[in-house]
Amino acid sequence: MWEYSEKVKEYFFNPKNSGLLESADGVGDVGAIACGDALRLMIKVDPATETITDARFQTFGCGSAIASSSALTEMIIGRTIEEAMGISNQDIADFLGGLPPEKMHCSVMGYEALRAAVANYRGETWIDDHEEGALVCKCFGIDEGMIERAVRMNGLTTLEQVTHYTKAMGSCGTCGEKVEEVLARVHREMVAEGTLDAAEAFDPAAARLPALRPKVAVSPLAPAASPAAKPALTSLQKIRLIEQAVEELRPYLQQDGGDCELVDVDGDAVMVKLSGACVGCQMASVTIRGVQERLIEKVGQPLRVIPVKAGH
């Protein structure tokens, strides 16, 4: 059981400002159901003073997610947008008397939702274009910008902290190197700006612990070197098997309101396009792993399933 502060419990058991806000001026949606937490923040703004006159939330998630959302609404009501935007995720955590380190992502979710809601109020699009490479963690739909903001704002120095604050890398782990790159780049910039001591900057070489390696890059059913491996398939045979397996899976995904289409096969990389409900957070880790395991089982070889965007 988590050690939650009294304040977290209070805001979880009796959340303030929950529910729909009729005719909201700005709505910010972050997270996804597949990721385990999601927050819709709705704000009402007095245009003359840019003051947030009301705020409501709806949250799918654990105790601290609900408490963080509710706390955020309490903190922003009556403030101007400018003041509200000055609230950091740490402020939300502090307001609640602290959060367990593993739960800090709940406060980050609130911080991000406020930005999304304000952008929506102003009629701006809020980073909704994941340019190639911008999306770092496909399992949880975490982009580079969010990681950078969390690192800068909270002075994060380790990969573990990045996971605690953003959830990035918290599932299949295959984005580990990408996260390392982002952390290293942001730290280089922070050192140059004088906001981080060079000695504290992240060093990918030193941080490379076995535990941070991809957890399931290759399926257990088909480890690399085995003397008793099946006879090699021709590429054509392999692609046929993959096609077959994907076809077999589709009805299954369709049941959940999603779908999956084979786009390309390149070596052991299988590109698939997910649509419908599967896109919840770009790639529900549940779905991608399921698909990957079925394919590997069918083909009897290591494969990596990579989600590609529609229109690829």
Binding site: V30, I33, A38, L39, G141, G170, L221, P223, S285
Partner: protein, 400 residues
């Protein structure tokens, strides 16, 4: 208000009769069974009796097939590591994707450090093992197949007798983690082909830190723990006598209560399950309802999250557990729910209620009284819930 404990798959209350049986072995009968004097002799007899009580519970042919260990985890580790050593020329393990970490973490470690090939056989949406895949994975290099008797999260029972025969067909040993099955369903190991079986005391009203490994006569065992000659040199270390006596007493009680488990306890579970499904829509039972432990139900409530449910239940004095991500400190639903491809709208809201003979009708009533309101309340907070029609419409995450 009397607390309602429905988390018996996590651990059980030590039966007062078990405590009573144990007490003398902390006080008067403190001897070492190996000693050549009267203090040791009575203790040796007590251990022998406990061994027979466990033998009887699992239907073993000989009492010396029972080796006392520190619990389920040690038994699992001993069985698998031993097989890799005794099965010459065989270096592969066949297991399931839904085993307890006591098996899966060990396998992962062996894969990484010793290059052991591990086949993790998938399960279907009801958590049933893919027998064809199991059969295909077995081969001349399989040292051991290890499949749990019953799954701790869903209660799904695996056809271990058949699996054991299939393993033998390829010359492999068969081990089953029966930690959740022993004491809940009838087991008669002597009529099966199972070579090794793990059980744990604290799941059947004995203390924590005591368990046993059944080793069929004739099956070679390489001890995990070396030292003195206790347990016929198969598990060294001065015996934990009070705990062993406790496990024996608990085994005897479990056998006596077995029909109650399959009758009264099952009826309580069924009432809770039916009552919840009747009162709460968008809820689904995970696992295989047709082939399940009598004490377990795992219900996934759509559009809400498990930790939130547990915290609210806890405030009402009700203890249950969840396969949701947030409760474990990991960020994803449990490996069991993922292996079953439980729809992601529901996986995060999976809640397990596990009964024991300690539970009563009132316990069921209490949950039926409070849980529907908790679910309703949490759904009213959820952006995915759109009233009775179910959920999901309209939420537009900007990250996706």
């Amino acid at each position: 208000m009397k607390p309602v404990y429905l988390d018996n798959n996590a651990t059980t209350r030590v039966d007062p009769q078990v405590v009573e049986a144990m007490l003398p072995f902390f006080t008067e009968q403190f001897g070492n069974a190996s000693s050549m004097h009267g203090f040791g002799a009575s203790v040796g007899a007590a251990i022998r009796k406990a061994r027979q009580q466990v033998q009887e519970l699992i239907g073993a042919e000989f009492d010396h097939e029972v080796v006392f260990t520190s619990g389920g985890t040690e038994s699992d580790n001993t069985a698998i590591l031993s097989a890799l050593e005794t099965q010459r020329g065989r270096d592969e393990i066949v297991t399931s994707a839904v085993e307890h970490p006591a098996v899966l973490s060990l396998c992962e470690h062996l894969e990484k450090t010793r290059g052991v090939r591990v086949h993790r056989i998938p399960v279907d949406a009801k958590g049933r093992l893919d027998i064809d895949a199991y059969r295909r994975a077995l081969g001349p290099r399989t040292a051991i197949a290890s499949v749990m008797w019953a799954n701790n999260e869903t209660g799904t029972i695996f056809p271990v007798e058949t699996l054991a025969e299939l393993a033998h067909d390829s010359g492999a040993l068969f081990h089953t983690d029966a930690v959740q099955a022993v004491g809940k369903i009838a087991i008669d190991i002597k009529t099966s082909a199972i070579d090794l079986l793990s059980l744990s005391g604290h799941k059947l009203h004995a203390p924590k830190g005591i368990g046993a490994l059944y080793v069929r006569r004739g099956v070679r065992l390489r001890p995990l723990i070396r030292g003195g000659h206790q347990e016929r040199a198969r598990r060294a270390g001065t015996e934990n006598v009070p705990a062993i006596v406790g496990l024996g007493a608990a085994a005897e009680l479990a056998l006596r209560h077995l029909s109650e488990e399959c009758g009264r306890v099952r009826a309580l579970r069924d009432r809770l399950e039916a009552g919840l499904l009747e009162r709460i829509d968008n809820a689904m039972v995970t696992g295989d309802p047709a082939n399940r432990l009598p004490n377990t139900t795992n219900i996934a409530f759509e559009y809400i999250e498990g930790e939130a449910i547990l915290l609210r239940l806890n405030r009402e004095g009700i203890a249950a557990s969840s396969g949701s991500a947030c409760t474990s400190g990991s960020l994803e639903p449990s490996h069991v729910l993922r292996a079953m491809n439980v729809p992601y709208t529901a996986a995060h809201g999976a809640t397990r209620f596990s009964f024991s003979r300690d539970n009563t009708e009132e316990d069921v009533e209490r949950v039926l009284d409070v849980l529907p309101a908790i679910v309703r309340d949490l759904r009213s907070l959820s952006p995915f819930w759109q009233g009775n029609g179910g959920g999901q419409a309209g939420f537009q995450p900007t990250y996706a």
